[in-house]
Protein backbone atom coordinates (compact mmCIF):
# COMPACT_ATOMS: atom_id res chain seq x y z
CA UNK A 1 0.00 0.00 0.00
CA UNK A 2 1.35 3.47 -0.89
CA UNK A 3 0.36 6.39 1.28
CA UNK A 4 0.78 10.14 0.83
CA UNK A 5 0.10 12.07 4.06
CA UNK A 6 -1.07 15.46 2.81
CA UNK A 7 -0.75 17.19 6.19
CA UNK A 8 1.77 16.26 8.88
CA UNK A 9 4.22 18.29 10.99
CA UNK A 10 7.34 16.14 10.81
CA UNK A 11 9.50 18.75 12.43
CA UNK A 12 8.09 17.64 15.78
CA UNK A 13 8.37 13.91 15.07
CA UNK A 14 11.25 11.50 15.69
CA UNK A 15 13.27 9.22 13.41
CA UNK A 16 11.30 6.31 14.94
CA UNK A 17 8.18 7.89 13.45
CA UNK A 18 9.82 8.14 10.03
CA UNK A 19 10.78 4.47 10.25
CA UNK A 20 7.29 3.37 11.33
CA UNK A 21 5.66 5.53 8.64
CA UNK A 22 7.84 4.02 5.92
CA UNK A 23 7.05 0.51 7.19
CA UNK A 24 3.31 1.39 7.05
CA UNK A 25 3.59 2.47 3.41
CA UNK A 26 4.05 6.24 3.68
CA UNK A 27 6.25 7.40 0.77
CA UNK A 28 5.46 11.12 0.56
CA UNK A 29 4.35 13.84 2.94
CA UNK A 30 3.41 17.51 2.85
CA UNK A 31 4.35 19.53 5.92
CA UNK A 32 2.32 22.73 6.21
CA UNK A 33 3.87 25.69 7.99
CA UNK A 34 1.89 26.23 11.16
CA UNK A 35 2.40 27.46 14.68
CA UNK A 36 4.72 25.60 16.98
CA UNK A 37 2.87 25.61 20.29
CA UNK A 38 5.22 28.28 21.60
CA UNK A 39 4.32 31.61 20.00
CA UNK A 40 7.00 33.27 17.86
CA UNK A 41 7.64 36.94 18.36
CA UNK A 42 9.76 37.95 15.39
CA UNK A 43 9.83 37.31 11.63
CA UNK A 44 13.35 35.89 11.84
CA UNK A 45 12.09 32.85 13.77
CA UNK A 46 9.65 32.19 10.93
CA UNK A 47 12.44 32.27 8.34
CA UNK A 48 14.49 29.78 10.33
CA UNK A 49 11.37 27.58 10.53
CA UNK A 50 10.73 27.89 6.78
CA UNK A 51 14.39 27.03 6.14
CA UNK A 52 13.99 23.90 8.25
CA UNK A 53 10.89 22.89 6.26
CA UNK A 54 12.82 23.38 3.01
CA UNK A 55 16.21 22.03 4.05
CA UNK A 56 16.65 19.96 7.15
CA UNK A 57 13.31 18.15 7.12
CA UNK A 58 13.46 16.87 3.49
CA UNK A 59 17.04 15.82 4.20
CA UNK A 60 15.91 13.84 7.25
CA UNK A 61 12.89 12.36 5.44
CA UNK A 62 15.00 11.22 2.47
CA UNK A 63 17.14 9.11 4.79
CA UNK A 64 14.02 7.07 5.51
CA UNK A 65 12.85 6.80 1.90
CA UNK A 66 10.13 9.44 2.23
CA UNK A 67 9.65 12.43 -0.09
CA UNK A 68 9.03 15.65 1.85
CA UNK A 69 7.29 18.74 0.48
CA UNK A 70 5.90 21.74 2.34
CA UNK A 71 3.42 24.57 2.26
CA UNK A 72 4.42 28.05 3.42
CA UNK A 73 2.31 30.80 5.01
CA UNK A 74 1.73 33.02 7.99
CA UNK A 75 -0.65 30.90 10.06
CA UNK A 76 -3.92 32.36 11.42
CA UNK A 77 -2.99 32.33 15.11
CA UNK A 78 0.18 34.33 14.57
CA UNK A 79 -1.42 36.59 11.96
CA UNK A 80 -2.97 38.25 15.02
CA UNK A 81 0.41 39.35 16.37
CA UNK A 82 1.61 42.59 14.73
CA UNK A 83 5.21 41.56 15.44
CA UNK A 84 4.82 38.59 13.07
CA UNK A 85 3.03 40.30 10.20
CA UNK A 86 6.21 41.44 8.35
CA UNK A 87 6.53 37.73 7.42
CA UNK A 88 3.87 38.45 4.77
CA UNK A 89 6.37 40.69 2.91
CA UNK A 90 8.95 37.92 2.54
CA UNK A 91 6.45 35.19 1.58
CA UNK A 92 6.84 35.62 -2.22
CA UNK A 93 10.51 34.58 -1.88
CA UNK A 94 9.56 31.38 -0.11
CA UNK A 95 6.55 30.59 -2.27
CA UNK A 96 8.91 30.45 -5.27
CA UNK A 97 10.85 27.44 -3.92
CA UNK A 98 10.86 24.06 -5.66
CA UNK A 99 9.53 22.04 -2.73
CA UNK A 100 6.70 24.45 -1.87
CA UNK A 101 3.54 22.86 -3.28
CA UNK A 102 0.89 25.17 -1.76
CA UNK A 103 0.22 28.24 0.34
CA UNK A 104 -0.76 27.17 3.85
CA UNK A 105 -1.92 26.76 6.52
CA UNK A 106 -4.02 29.86 6.18
CA UNK A 107 -7.57 30.45 7.44
CA UNK A 108 -9.47 31.43 10.54
CA UNK A 109 -8.71 30.49 14.12
CA UNK A 110 -10.51 33.03 16.35
CA UNK A 111 -12.41 34.71 13.50
CA UNK A 112 -10.64 38.09 13.91
CA UNK A 113 -10.46 40.76 11.20
CA UNK A 114 -6.64 40.33 11.13
CA UNK A 115 -7.08 36.65 10.33
CA UNK A 116 -9.50 37.48 7.54
CA UNK A 117 -7.09 40.01 6.08
CA UNK A 118 -4.13 37.59 6.14
CA UNK A 119 -6.32 34.87 4.60
CA UNK A 120 -7.46 37.08 1.71
CA UNK A 121 -3.97 38.41 1.06
CA UNK A 122 -2.41 34.94 1.02
CA UNK A 123 -5.11 33.62 -1.33
CA UNK A 124 -3.99 36.41 -3.70
CA UNK A 125 -0.36 35.25 -3.32
CA UNK A 126 -1.46 31.70 -4.19
CA UNK A 127 -3.10 32.98 -7.38
CA UNK A 128 0.00 35.02 -8.31
CA UNK A 129 2.27 31.99 -7.82
CA UNK A 130 -0.14 29.51 -9.44
CA UNK A 131 -0.22 27.49 -6.23
CA UNK A 132 -3.00 25.58 -4.45
CA UNK A 133 -4.04 26.72 -0.96
CA UNK A 134 -4.38 24.69 2.23
CA UNK A 135 -6.99 26.32 4.43
CA UNK A 136 -7.39 25.42 8.09
CA UNK A 137 -10.93 25.62 9.52
CA UNK A 138 -11.39 26.78 13.12
CA UNK A 139 -11.91 24.18 15.84
CA UNK A 140 -14.34 26.42 17.78
CA UNK A 141 -17.63 27.38 16.09
CA UNK A 142 -16.57 25.26 13.12
CA UNK A 143 -19.70 25.38 10.94
CA UNK A 144 -19.94 29.18 11.02
CA UNK A 145 -16.19 29.48 10.54
CA UNK A 146 -16.25 27.14 7.56
CA UNK A 147 -19.11 29.05 5.93
CA UNK A 148 -17.24 32.32 6.42
CA UNK A 149 -14.05 30.77 5.02
CA UNK A 150 -15.90 29.63 1.89
CA UNK A 151 -17.16 33.23 1.42
CA UNK A 152 -13.61 34.57 1.53
CA UNK A 153 -12.44 31.88 -0.89
CA UNK A 154 -15.26 32.77 -3.29
CA UNK A 155 -14.57 36.51 -3.07
CA UNK A 156 -10.85 35.97 -3.74
CA UNK A 157 -11.56 34.58 -7.22
CA UNK A 158 -9.25 31.58 -6.78
CA UNK A 159 -10.47 28.44 -8.59
CA UNK A 160 -12.19 26.21 -6.00
CA UNK A 161 -10.34 23.11 -7.23
CA UNK A 162 -7.11 24.79 -6.06
CA UNK A 163 -8.34 24.99 -2.46
CA UNK A 164 -8.61 22.39 0.29
CA UNK A 165 -10.49 23.16 3.50
CA UNK A 166 -9.04 21.02 6.25
CA UNK A 167 -10.10 19.58 9.63
CA UNK A 168 -13.66 19.02 8.40
CA UNK A 169 -16.34 16.92 10.10
CA UNK A 170 -19.82 15.50 9.43
CA UNK A 171 -21.40 18.95 9.56
CA UNK A 172 -18.97 20.81 7.30
CA UNK A 173 -18.09 18.28 4.59
CA UNK A 174 -21.28 18.86 2.53
CA UNK A 175 -20.92 22.61 2.07
CA UNK A 176 -17.23 22.28 1.16
CA UNK A 177 -17.82 19.63 -1.51
CA UNK A 178 -20.75 21.67 -2.88
CA UNK A 179 -18.43 24.68 -3.26
CA UNK A 180 -16.08 22.73 -5.55
CA UNK A 181 -13.21 22.86 -3.04
CA UNK A 182 -11.38 19.76 -1.77
CA UNK A 183 -12.31 18.31 1.63
CA UNK A 184 -9.55 17.51 4.13
CA UNK A 185 -9.91 15.39 7.28
CA UNK A 186 -7.45 15.14 10.14
CA UNK A 187 -7.70 11.83 11.99
CA UNK A 188 -6.73 12.17 15.65
CA UNK A 189 -6.42 9.66 18.50
CA UNK A 190 -9.12 11.20 20.71
CA UNK A 191 -10.73 14.34 19.35
CA UNK A 192 -11.99 15.84 16.13
CA UNK A 193 -12.24 12.81 13.79
CA UNK A 194 -11.71 9.06 14.11
CA UNK A 195 -10.94 6.51 11.38
CA UNK A 196 -14.37 4.87 11.74
CA UNK A 197 -16.24 8.16 11.40
CA UNK A 198 -14.01 8.90 8.41
CA UNK A 199 -15.05 5.65 6.74
CA UNK A 200 -18.71 6.57 7.24
CA UNK A 201 -18.13 9.99 5.67
CA UNK A 202 -16.45 8.32 2.66
CA UNK A 203 -19.42 5.94 2.34
CA UNK A 204 -21.84 8.87 2.38
CA UNK A 205 -19.92 11.39 0.26
CA UNK A 206 -17.73 9.26 -1.98
CA UNK A 207 -13.96 9.34 -2.40
CA UNK A 208 -13.59 12.16 -4.91
CA UNK A 209 -11.84 15.38 -3.78
CA UNK A 210 -11.30 13.77 -0.35
CA UNK A 211 -7.97 14.07 1.48
CA UNK A 212 -7.19 12.15 4.67
CA UNK A 213 -4.29 13.20 6.89
CA UNK A 214 -2.84 12.51 10.32
CA UNK A 215 -2.01 16.18 11.02
CA UNK A 216 0.45 14.69 13.52
CA UNK A 217 2.39 17.36 15.36
CA UNK A 218 3.75 18.12 18.82
CA UNK A 219 0.41 17.37 20.48
CA UNK A 220 -1.23 14.02 21.13
CA UNK A 221 -1.43 12.63 17.62
CA UNK A 222 -0.49 9.57 15.59
CA UNK A 223 1.54 9.65 12.35
CA UNK A 224 0.09 6.25 11.35
CA UNK A 225 -3.53 7.44 11.28
CA UNK A 226 -3.47 7.46 7.48
CA UNK A 227 -2.63 3.76 7.42
CA UNK A 228 -5.18 2.97 10.14
CA UNK A 229 -7.86 4.75 8.11
CA UNK A 230 -6.83 2.81 5.00
CA UNK A 231 -7.17 -0.45 6.96
CA UNK A 232 -10.58 0.66 8.26
CA UNK A 233 -11.66 1.39 4.68
CA UNK A 234 -10.64 -2.11 3.57
CA UNK A 235 -12.41 -3.66 6.56
CA UNK A 236 -15.56 -1.74 5.62
CA UNK A 237 -15.52 -3.14 2.09
CA UNK A 238 -13.73 -0.48 0.03
CA UNK A 239 -11.45 -2.09 -2.57
CA UNK A 240 -7.70 -1.50 -3.06
CA UNK A 241 -8.33 0.96 -5.85
CA UNK A 242 -10.58 3.16 -3.69
CA UNK A 243 -7.99 3.13 -0.91
CA UNK A 244 -5.21 4.01 -3.35
CA UNK A 245 -7.39 6.83 -4.70
CA UNK A 246 -7.87 8.42 -1.29
CA UNK A 247 -4.43 7.69 0.15
CA UNK A 248 -2.26 8.39 -2.90
CA UNK A 249 -3.87 9.64 -6.11
CA UNK A 250 -6.00 12.35 -4.48
CA UNK A 251 -3.11 14.13 -2.71
CA UNK A 252 -0.95 13.72 -5.84
CA UNK A 253 -3.71 15.32 -7.95
CA UNK A 254 -4.30 18.14 -5.48
CA UNK A 255 -0.70 19.18 -4.84
CA UNK A 256 0.28 18.24 -8.40
CA UNK A 257 -1.61 21.36 -9.49
CA UNK A 258 1.46 23.30 -8.28
CA UNK A 259 3.51 21.76 -11.10
CA UNK A 260 6.24 21.18 -8.49
CA UNK A 261 5.38 17.76 -7.10
CA UNK A 262 8.42 15.96 -8.44
CA UNK A 263 8.02 12.51 -6.92
CA UNK A 264 10.97 11.08 -8.89
CA UNK A 265 13.40 13.66 -7.67
CA UNK A 266 16.60 12.13 -6.28
CA UNK A 267 16.93 12.27 -2.54
CA UNK A 268 18.73 15.34 -1.20
CA UNK A 269 21.53 13.20 0.19
CA UNK A 270 22.37 11.88 -3.26
CA UNK A 271 23.26 15.34 -4.45
CA UNK A 272 26.88 16.23 -4.41
CA UNK A 273 29.49 17.65 -6.72
CA UNK A 274 30.53 14.18 -7.83
CA UNK A 275 28.81 11.09 -9.07
CA UNK A 276 29.15 7.94 -7.07
CA UNK A 277 28.04 6.46 -3.85
CA UNK A 278 28.39 7.88 -0.43
CA UNK A 279 26.70 6.53 2.63
CA UNK A 280 25.59 9.19 5.03
CA UNK A 281 26.10 8.53 8.67
CA UNK A 282 23.96 11.61 9.42
CA UNK A 283 24.85 13.83 12.35
CA UNK A 284 28.22 13.17 13.93
Amino acid sequence: MRIFDPHIHMNSRTTDDYEAMHAAGVRAVVEPAFWMGQPRTSPESFYDYFDALLGWEPYRAAQFGIQHFCTIALNPKEANDPRCRPVLDELPRYLAKDRVVAVGEIGYDSMTPEEGEALALQLQLAMEQGLPALVHTPHRDKATGTRRTLDVVRESGIAPELVVLDHLNELTVGMVLDSGCWAGFSIYPKTKMSEDRMVTILQEHGTERMLVNSAADWGRSDPLKTRRTADAMLAAGFDDDAVDGVMWRNPVDFYGQSGRLDLDEPKPDEESSFEGNSIRRGGA
Binding site: R99, S273, E275, A284
Partner: protein, 242 residues
Protein backbone atom coordinates in the same frame (compact mmCIF):
# COMPACT_ATOMS: atom_id res chain seq x y z
CA UNK B 1 52.52 13.63 -0.94
CA UNK B 2 50.29 11.72 -3.30
CA UNK B 3 47.36 13.67 -4.72
CA UNK B 4 44.40 13.24 -2.39
CA UNK B 5 41.91 16.01 -3.00
CA UNK B 6 39.93 17.14 -6.02
CA UNK B 7 41.89 18.86 -8.75
CA UNK B 8 42.95 22.33 -7.66
CA UNK B 9 42.66 23.75 -11.16
CA UNK B 10 40.19 26.64 -11.32
CA UNK B 11 36.59 25.60 -12.01
CA UNK B 12 35.21 26.61 -15.43
CA UNK B 13 33.18 29.77 -15.85
CA UNK B 14 29.46 28.84 -15.60
CA UNK B 15 28.79 30.51 -18.97
CA UNK B 16 31.45 28.31 -20.58
CA UNK B 17 30.00 25.21 -18.92
CA UNK B 18 26.55 26.09 -20.28
CA UNK B 19 27.98 26.79 -23.74
CA UNK B 20 29.69 23.38 -23.85
CA UNK B 21 26.63 21.55 -22.51
CA UNK B 22 23.63 23.52 -23.79
CA UNK B 23 20.27 23.52 -22.03
CA UNK B 24 17.19 22.66 -24.08
CA UNK B 25 15.93 25.66 -26.10
CA UNK B 26 13.11 26.51 -23.65
CA UNK B 27 15.49 26.44 -20.68
CA UNK B 28 18.06 28.53 -22.54
CA UNK B 29 15.44 31.10 -23.53
CA UNK B 30 14.28 31.31 -19.93
CA UNK B 31 17.84 31.90 -18.69
CA UNK B 32 18.48 34.58 -21.33
CA UNK B 33 15.36 36.44 -20.35
CA UNK B 34 16.00 36.08 -16.63
CA UNK B 35 19.55 37.31 -17.12
CA UNK B 36 18.30 40.41 -18.94
CA UNK B 37 15.73 41.14 -16.25
CA UNK B 38 18.32 40.83 -13.47
CA UNK B 39 20.73 43.07 -15.37
CA UNK B 40 17.99 45.69 -15.71
CA UNK B 41 16.77 45.51 -12.10
CA UNK B 42 18.83 43.70 -9.46
CA UNK B 43 15.90 42.88 -7.15
CA UNK B 44 14.31 40.75 -9.91
CA UNK B 45 16.83 38.07 -8.90
CA UNK B 46 14.85 37.37 -5.72
CA UNK B 47 11.96 35.67 -7.52
CA UNK B 48 14.00 34.30 -10.46
CA UNK B 49 16.84 32.66 -8.52
CA UNK B 50 14.55 30.16 -6.69
CA UNK B 51 12.72 29.24 -9.94
CA UNK B 52 15.82 28.23 -11.96
CA UNK B 53 15.74 24.51 -11.38
CA UNK B 54 12.16 24.14 -12.63
CA UNK B 55 13.25 25.62 -15.97
CA UNK B 56 16.80 24.31 -16.38
CA UNK B 57 16.77 20.91 -14.68
CA UNK B 58 19.53 19.50 -12.54
CA UNK B 59 21.77 17.49 -14.87
CA UNK B 60 25.47 17.48 -14.13
CA UNK B 61 27.36 19.47 -16.77
CA UNK B 62 30.96 19.23 -15.53
CA UNK B 63 32.75 18.45 -12.27
CA UNK B 64 31.95 21.81 -10.63
CA UNK B 65 28.49 22.52 -12.06
CA UNK B 66 25.02 21.07 -12.39
CA UNK B 67 22.68 22.80 -14.87
CA UNK B 68 20.73 24.62 -12.14
CA UNK B 69 23.85 25.72 -10.30
CA UNK B 70 25.48 27.07 -13.46
CA UNK B 71 22.30 28.88 -14.52
CA UNK B 72 21.93 30.37 -11.04
CA UNK B 73 25.56 31.51 -11.18
CA UNK B 74 24.81 33.19 -14.52
CA UNK B 75 22.02 35.18 -12.85
CA UNK B 76 24.39 36.22 -10.05
CA UNK B 77 26.97 37.32 -12.61
CA UNK B 78 24.27 39.42 -14.30
CA UNK B 79 23.64 41.44 -11.13
CA UNK B 80 24.61 45.07 -11.85
CA UNK B 81 26.28 45.26 -8.42
CA UNK B 82 29.66 44.78 -6.83
CA UNK B 83 31.31 45.09 -3.42
CA UNK B 84 29.02 45.65 -0.43
CA UNK B 85 25.72 46.03 -2.38
CA UNK B 86 26.45 42.71 -4.12
CA UNK B 87 27.28 41.13 -0.76
CA UNK B 88 23.97 42.26 0.72
CA UNK B 89 21.88 40.97 -2.22
CA UNK B 90 23.76 37.64 -1.99
CA UNK B 91 23.21 37.55 1.77
CA UNK B 92 19.44 37.76 1.19
CA UNK B 93 19.54 34.98 -1.40
CA UNK B 94 21.66 32.79 0.86
CA UNK B 95 19.67 33.52 4.02
CA UNK B 96 16.33 32.78 2.39
CA UNK B 97 17.67 30.09 0.04
CA UNK B 98 16.84 26.38 0.08
CA UNK B 99 19.81 23.98 0.05
CA UNK B 100 20.02 23.90 -3.77
CA UNK B 101 20.11 27.72 -3.90
CA UNK B 102 22.71 27.87 -1.13
CA UNK B 103 24.90 25.37 -2.96
CA UNK B 104 24.67 27.53 -6.09
CA UNK B 105 25.80 30.63 -4.17
CA UNK B 106 28.75 28.72 -2.69
CA UNK B 107 29.84 27.34 -6.06
CA UNK B 108 29.56 30.76 -7.69
CA UNK B 109 31.83 32.50 -5.15
CA UNK B 110 35.06 32.15 -7.20
CA UNK B 111 33.43 34.23 -9.96
CA UNK B 112 31.87 37.04 -7.95
CA UNK B 113 33.38 40.38 -6.96
CA UNK B 114 32.23 40.14 -3.36
CA UNK B 115 34.17 41.11 -0.19
CA UNK B 116 35.93 38.08 1.28
CA UNK B 117 34.48 38.46 4.78
CA UNK B 118 30.93 38.30 3.43
CA UNK B 119 31.70 35.32 1.22
CA UNK B 120 33.45 33.45 4.01
CA UNK B 121 30.36 34.11 6.13
CA UNK B 122 28.34 31.89 3.75
CA UNK B 123 31.06 29.25 3.79
CA UNK B 124 31.12 29.20 7.59
CA UNK B 125 27.35 29.04 7.90
CA UNK B 126 27.25 26.00 5.61
CA UNK B 127 30.08 24.33 7.53
CA UNK B 128 28.24 24.78 10.84
CA UNK B 129 25.20 22.94 9.49
CA UNK B 130 24.34 19.29 9.14
CA UNK B 131 23.63 19.04 5.41
CA UNK B 132 26.55 17.15 3.86
CA UNK B 133 25.80 18.52 0.38
CA UNK B 134 26.31 22.04 1.73
CA UNK B 135 29.42 21.12 3.71
CA UNK B 136 30.88 19.70 0.51
CA UNK B 137 30.00 22.80 -1.51
CA UNK B 138 31.48 25.04 1.20
CA UNK B 139 34.80 23.20 0.82
CA UNK B 140 34.99 23.98 -2.88
CA UNK B 141 37.87 26.00 -4.34
CA UNK B 142 36.81 29.32 -2.79
CA UNK B 143 36.45 28.23 0.84
CA UNK B 144 39.34 25.77 0.69
CA UNK B 145 41.72 28.49 -0.47
CA UNK B 146 40.70 31.07 2.12
CA UNK B 147 39.62 29.47 5.40
CA UNK B 148 42.15 29.96 8.19
CA UNK B 149 44.20 26.81 8.97
CA UNK B 150 42.32 25.82 12.13
CA UNK B 151 38.92 26.14 10.42
CA UNK B 152 40.08 24.26 7.34
CA UNK B 153 41.35 21.38 9.48
CA UNK B 154 38.09 21.22 11.48
CA UNK B 155 36.12 21.22 8.23
CA UNK B 156 38.16 18.33 6.82
CA UNK B 157 37.63 16.35 10.01
CA UNK B 158 33.90 17.09 9.82
CA UNK B 159 33.88 15.67 6.28
CA UNK B 160 35.46 12.47 7.59
CA UNK B 161 32.70 12.21 10.21
CA UNK B 162 30.01 12.87 7.60
CA UNK B 163 31.54 10.35 5.17
CA UNK B 164 32.15 12.99 2.56
CA UNK B 165 35.11 11.35 0.89
CA UNK B 166 38.14 13.60 0.80
CA UNK B 167 38.45 13.44 -2.98
CA UNK B 168 35.33 15.62 -3.05
CA UNK B 169 36.86 18.61 -1.32
CA UNK B 170 39.38 21.15 -2.53
CA UNK B 171 42.76 22.24 -1.23
CA UNK B 172 44.09 19.09 0.48
CA UNK B 173 47.21 18.89 -1.71
CA UNK B 174 48.38 22.31 -0.63
CA UNK B 175 46.76 22.68 2.80
CA UNK B 176 47.30 19.35 4.53
CA UNK B 177 49.87 19.86 7.29
CA UNK B 178 51.39 18.23 10.40
CA UNK B 179 48.47 19.26 12.58
CA UNK B 180 45.75 17.96 10.22
CA UNK B 181 47.64 14.68 9.88
CA UNK B 182 47.89 14.45 13.68
CA UNK B 183 44.13 15.05 14.04
CA UNK B 184 43.35 12.37 11.47
CA UNK B 185 45.81 9.95 13.10
CA UNK B 186 44.17 10.51 16.51
CA UNK B 187 40.80 9.91 14.91
CA UNK B 188 42.10 6.65 13.43
CA UNK B 189 43.39 5.55 16.83
CA UNK B 190 40.05 6.37 18.45
CA UNK B 191 38.26 4.24 15.84
CA UNK B 192 40.62 1.30 16.34
CA UNK B 193 40.27 1.52 20.14
CA UNK B 194 36.51 1.21 19.59
CA UNK B 195 37.11 -1.87 17.42
CA UNK B 196 35.90 -0.06 14.32
CA UNK B 197 37.30 0.39 10.82
CA UNK B 198 39.00 3.56 9.66
CA UNK B 199 37.90 5.30 6.42
CA UNK B 200 40.52 4.59 3.75
CA UNK B 201 40.72 8.10 2.38
CA UNK B 202 42.53 9.53 5.42
CA UNK B 203 45.63 7.33 4.99
CA UNK B 204 47.36 9.35 2.24
CA UNK B 205 47.31 12.45 4.46
CA UNK B 206 48.58 10.59 7.53
CA UNK B 207 51.36 8.88 5.53
CA UNK B 208 52.78 12.16 4.28
CA UNK B 209 53.52 13.57 7.73
CA UNK B 210 55.35 12.70 10.98
CA UNK B 211 52.02 11.59 12.47
CA UNK B 212 52.67 8.33 10.61
CA UNK B 213 55.37 7.18 13.03
CA UNK B 214 53.37 8.01 16.16
CA UNK B 215 50.24 6.31 14.86
CA UNK B 216 52.17 3.22 13.77
CA UNK B 217 53.48 2.91 17.34
CA UNK B 218 50.04 3.35 18.89
CA UNK B 219 48.47 0.82 16.53
CA UNK B 220 51.27 -1.67 17.22
CA UNK B 221 50.43 -1.36 20.94
CA UNK B 222 46.73 -1.87 20.11
CA UNK B 223 47.53 -5.27 18.57
CA UNK B 224 48.09 -6.40 22.20
CA UNK B 225 44.77 -5.02 23.45
CA UNK B 226 42.57 -7.22 25.64
CA UNK B 227 39.50 -7.22 23.38
CA UNK B 228 39.77 -9.21 20.15
CA UNK B 229 37.76 -6.62 18.12
CA UNK B 230 40.26 -3.99 19.09
CA UNK B 231 43.29 -6.18 18.20
CA UNK B 232 41.75 -7.09 14.84
CA UNK B 233 40.90 -3.48 14.02
CA UNK B 234 44.51 -2.55 14.81
CA UNK B 235 45.87 -5.23 12.48
CA UNK B 236 43.57 -4.09 9.67
CA UNK B 237 44.52 -0.44 10.17
CA UNK B 238 48.25 -1.19 10.24
CA UNK B 239 47.92 -3.14 7.01
CA UNK B 240 46.05 -0.27 5.34
CA UNK B 241 48.57 2.25 6.63
CA UNK B 242 51.60 0.45 5.17
Amino acid sequence: MASTGMSDSAPPDPRTALALHPLDPAGRAWVDEAEARVAARSTAVRALFPAVRRHCGRDRLVEHWTADEAARAVLLLALPLDGTPLASELAGLFRHGDPAEQRAVLRALPFLDVPEEAALGFVREALRGNDSTLIEAALGPYGAARLPDAEYRQAVLKCVFYEITLDRIAGLDTRADDELARMLADFAHERVAAGRDVPQDIWPVVRAFPALATLTEKLAAETWAATPERREAAVRALKALQ
